[in-house]
Amino acid sequence: MSAAEELAPGAPLMEVRGLERRFVMGDEEVAVLKGVTFTINVGEYVAIIGPSGSGKSTLMYQIGCLDTPSEGTYHLAGYSVGALDDEELAALRNRFIGFVFQAFNLLPRTTAVDNVALPLRYAGVGIGERRRRARVALDRVGLGHRHDHTPDRLSGGERQRVAIARAIVTNPKLLLCDEPTGNLDQRVGAEIQALFEELNRDLGVTLVIVTHDPSLAKRARRNIKLVDGRVVHDGPALEGF
């Protein structure tokens, strides 16, 4: 995997072409994504919006290389995701993508440092070095004083910061966030959003946020709106979707 080094700002990072995802439910097949096409370049800040059940999370799993298309193609950093096997997909996720989920998804009874260090373990980094880098990432998200706390001793906003530190600890090209402020109140949600924007601006990481919140979507330079598995809008932020 040498393509990553050539990913200059503005170069295409993700190319989605005619992407379909169908699920077999009993006897019938249900299409959830029905031919999605878009390109996102390195360093962009994109919000994916749309009503509940429109396929946003399904799309996120596709572009996050956790799932492969039923139809169509997806290229991430030059790799044709549909052609990769389990191990290659795992390596691609580890190397290029940081995930942030609505439900934080931290390991319980595990310190913030060890939670953040987790992706580095699968990158083959030794325990000492990955804890050191985890501390740097925690400092970066403003949790310098909470390194050894377990999730049950952190507030919702702090938990999401730990999750963000975990997402950036590998220096990914892409930050994929599925309703990251969904479990947070307005004020904390805004702080988290500000943190994302800061990372996008300072680290140049491509930011793709799935969100319900119009006020957050508005802040993104580009909105992709999904309705019933199809892209109905791809352009500047929409007013009141």
């Binding site: 999370s57 799993y61 996050g64 956790l66 799932d67 389990d86 191990e87 795992a90 390596a91 996720r93 580890n94 190397r95 995930f99 989920f101 439900a103 998804n105 390991l107 319980p108 009874r109 595990t110 060890d114 987790l118 992706p119 373990r121 699968y122 990158a123 325990i127 975990r166 590998t170």
Partner: protein, 401 residues
């Protein structure tokens, strides 16, 4: 691999109660293996050392014929048994070349009296070589001598216990005593031998075999004790004695030679069977422990479905997840095994210290088997949960509520 063990340890550390409960079954299983097999093994060792302390490569000739050699006690007499005599002893002495010695044995018993004190005890009529053959030696004075045997002298050698009971602190050597009414003089005192197989080897009186025949009104010997020069000679020595005795009986083999080796083998087979049976019983508890691990691991895989999804999302392959859960099971199981083994060793140490008679021991092979089996139990009980965890689709795992 180190990374997998490390994350297994981290995972266990993050849920100590669950780990401890999971371990419990294996702890008990390994403890059971250690103790039960320890009892069997201890019994075997005990019999081994006890029987060997009686002397080595012993051959015991008794009158009458049995089909099997060895075994326990005197064989059933077959019709017209030609008794064993002193002449048989002399003949063996002269003709047999593969033996260490031979001694007549006349078994009797009676009241031994010194002044006002008395004790009922076993009296053995023997020859001089009995002492070396049976590894029982005098401490003071002399054992039965050849002249005593020939002259049918009324001399007695007392076991320690008999001395204690009859003489207390007085000197026994040279004193007159009565055995079953007959007058004797004490010429020797045996060294302390202790108990063996429940029999008090110090509660004995030895007199010349010829004297014993007179004393107990017997015309023949009870047994004839001899021993092969070496273990390898046992079979040929047996044949040799058989020939000598048969020649004196017109070729009829109306006697039986029991070898100590056969006896040892019989005991050995018995205790080995017992050990195996105990091992089988103990392994049932190990199997139960393994099922416990598998159950809790299966529950754990379900509980940690989200965690599995997260791990996959941040870069874990199916293989990583498989190894993680497999090693968790193995680590739990082997830690449980180590604890069980430690407890077992502690119990063995305590028992050996405070109840040295209990034949319980912990030998290397038991420890190895117990610990090894805890490892195997971990692998076996970890495979199914680990495969289930690895088979999870990452998206399904992340969406799992």
């Amino acid at each position: 691999m180190f990374e997998h063990v490390l994350s297994a340890l981290l995972a266990l550390n993050s849920n100590k109660l669950r780990a401890a409960l999971t371990m419990l079954g294996v702890v008990i299983g390994v403890l059971a293996v250690t103790l039960l097999v320890g009892v069997g093994d201890g019994a075997r060792k005990y019999l081994d050392t006890t029987l060997s302390s009686l002397g080595t490569n012993l051959l015991n000739v008794v009158p009458g014929r049995t089909e099997t050699r060895g075994g326990f006690g005197p064989p059933p007499a077959s019709g017209i048994a030609r008794p064993l005599t002193m002449d048989d002893v002399r003949a063996i002495e002269r003709q047999a070349t593969l033996i260490r010695g031979v001694s007549p044995v006349v078994t009797g018993g009676g009241t031994v009296r010194y002044r006002t004190r008395q004790r009922d005890t076993m009296v053995l009529g023997v020859g001089p070589q009995f002492s070396d053959l049976r590894n029982m030696h005098v401490d003071l004075g002399e054992f039965v001598r050849e002249e005593d045997l020939q002259a049918r002298r009324r001399v007695a050698i007392l076991g320690r216990r008999v001395v204690r009971e009859l003489f207390g602190d007085e000197s026994a050597l040279g004193q007159p005593i009565r055995i079953a009414g007959g007058r004797y003089r004490v010429v020797g005192i045996m060294e302390e031998k202790g108990r063996s197989l429940g029999f008090d080897l110090d509660d004995l009186v030895f007199i010349p075999a010829t004297t014993a025949m007179d004393q107990f009104g017997q015309t023949h010997l009870s047994q004839l004790l001899t021993a092969a020069r070496s273990k390898d000679d046992t079979a040929s020595a047996t044949e040799e004695i058989e020939e000598v005795l048969a020649r004196r009986r017109n070729g009829e083999r109306v006697f039986t030679i029991q070898s100590q080796e056969d006896l040892l083998k019989t005991f050995g087979a018995l205790t080995a069977a017992m050990t195996m049976m105990l091992l089988a019983i103990a392994s049932v508890s190990l199997v139960v422990g393994g099922i416990g691990i598998m159950n809790i691991m299966l529950v754990s895989v379900r509980e940690r479905t989200r965690e599995i999804g997260v791990r996959r999302a941040v870069g874990a392959t199916r293989g990583d997840v498989l190894w993680q859960f497999l090693l968790e099971a193995v680590v739990i199981s082997t830690i449980g095994g180590a604890i069980g083994l430690g407890l077992g060793a502690a119990i063995v140490a305590v028992v050996t210290k405070y109840a040295p008679d209990v034949p319980l021991r912990l030998s290397g092979w038991i420890a190895a088997v117990a610990f090894g089996s805890s490892f195997v139990v971990g692998v076996i009980s970890g495979v199914v949960p680990a495969r289930r965890a690895a088979a999870l689709d990452p998206v399904d795992a992340l969406r799992y509520e």
